[in-house]
């Protein structure tokens, strides 16, 4: 009997977009479109079952084996460094991790740089590589407010179009890393469901090329 592949999708716009890719690759699950309060959606015919989780939790579900596969932003992978395989760049959800600050910001190297961010590990690594002394202010949302109110000098955050920054008189100062959605796999699941995973990755690759 073929084993079902459990796939964790990130809730929200990115997840919807990515599910369309799975659908186009032949791994559709009509139950998922029906809505309702169900949490897990299965299509035994195609050998897949999907569930929606908070984007930042996808990597945990996959690392711990609750999901065989998942879709996570590179930002989440860089921040949590989960022990998973990163099989494919889905080429969607493209943005960048950047340092942003007020338009007239000038870094004073004689002072500790205060950085507000949701991504403490990425930020700490980035500045450690430069040997810059920083103070990380960990926030869970509305990061852009921090430099405006003087809580921090700069922010480290995801920048997609830059519109929010512009509207608040902020600008990108440095780019840390390009970000996009990645297909990740649990290490053990890959060993024991390799044929199914490989077939899915190949189908997704074809879908991506068509787009």
């Amino acid at each position: 009997m073929r084993k079902t592949l459990n796939i964790a999708l990130p809730k929200g716009r990115l997840g919807e977009k990515v599910y369309k890719m799975f659908e186009a690759a032949g791994y559709e699950c009509p139950a998922l479109r029906e809505g309702g309060r169900r949490l897990i959606f299965e299509n035994p015919e195609k050998g897949v079952s999907y569930f929606w989780v908070k984007p930042s939790d996808v990597a945990i579900y996959v690392e711990r084996g609750a999901a065989d596969l998942g879709v996570a932003g590179k930002d989440i992978l860089l921040e949590y460094e989960p022990d998973v395989y990163e099989l494919m760049d889905l080429g969607t959800g493209i943005c960048r991790m950047a340092i942003a600050g007020k338009r007239d910001f000038v870094d004073d190297p004689t002072r500790t740089l205060r950085v507000a961010t949701k991504f403490s590990n990425i930020t700490a690594r980035y500045y450690a590589e430069q040997g810059r002394d920083i103070d990380i202010i960990h926030l869970n949302g509305s990061i852009e407010l921090a430099p405006i109110l003087g809580l921090s000098d700069v922010i480290a955050d995801i920048v997609e179009t830059g519109t929010t920054l512009k509207e608040n008189d902020l600008t990108v100062l440095e780019t840390i890393a390009p970000i996009s959605a990645r297909l990740i796999a649990n290490r053990s699941a890959w060993q024991f469901s390799r044929d199914a995973v490989t077939a899915l990755v190949e189908a997704m690759q074809k879908t991506k090329e068509k787009d």
Binding site: D83, L87, R187
Partner: protein, 314 residues
Amino acid sequence: MTVDERILTPEEKAAFTLRALYAANGYRQYKMSKFEEYDLYVRNKDFLISDNVITFTDTNGKLMALKPDVTLSIIRSTANAPGETHRIYYSENVYRVSKGTHRFQEIPQTGLECIGPLSAADLAQVTGLAAKSLLALSPSAVLNVSHLGILRSLLDPAGADPETAQRITRAIGEKNPHELAALCAAAGISEETAGLLGRLLGVYGDVESAMRQLIPLLGTTPAAPALEALCAILSQLDGESEKIVRFDFSVVNDPRYYNGVVFKGYIEGLPGSVLSGGQYDRLMRRMRRPDGAVGFAVYMDQLERLRDGGNADA
């Protein structure tokens, strides 16, 4: 009085099964003290899975540590007889910070080390015992094997700096073809080498089918001797072990310590690897030892989860 086996937990049974397997293959048990001088670990910090070590000051003023690792102690214990082959197994608790909770945990670990002037037969014996350890725990297991000499012999002449080489190694460990290609391009590594690394990432299979793919790929490259060395090891595996051995280029234990054959073991139903090891002559050199060494550890704490899956009978 005889002990009724039924009172043993599956993990205890597994530990005894592994001990019996190692003893039957000529390995003797090493019982280590709970503490070691902190200095041993701090000198080889990168070798440890986690940087954090529980330390305390002994009555004589020496800074001691609760052991976070067994291999370093075993290497040290064999220092007085260089040139001899030591076959040692252990079943010990180690103390490490758990990634999830960021707190110290006691982790039961069973494993073995073979230290001395190693032959391909010794390397094959340890690789085979790694496979048999997995089979003793579950009938559904795989042992992924690679040879770090392949990666090194392709990367070293490419002139990648140590940091880039580490990133490339990591991308390979993640089976991450897009990152690998991007890193190679950024580091100015030739398209030929980058393409070869990418193709190697796609090679996976049992010994026979992997060799069929690898020989045409690597036969005329600087990686040929490493492939030959791997071939010499894998061709000596017994039939039972060979059945679950797969070549997988993404097995990349830290190349600063490991140099030759490396392996990682998985059991169906357990999310991460339960066995890890390989040949670590480079660690021996760092500890100023001329001999070779190969070994592996089985993470016994993972086995509890097998009870949920129903194939726990070891």
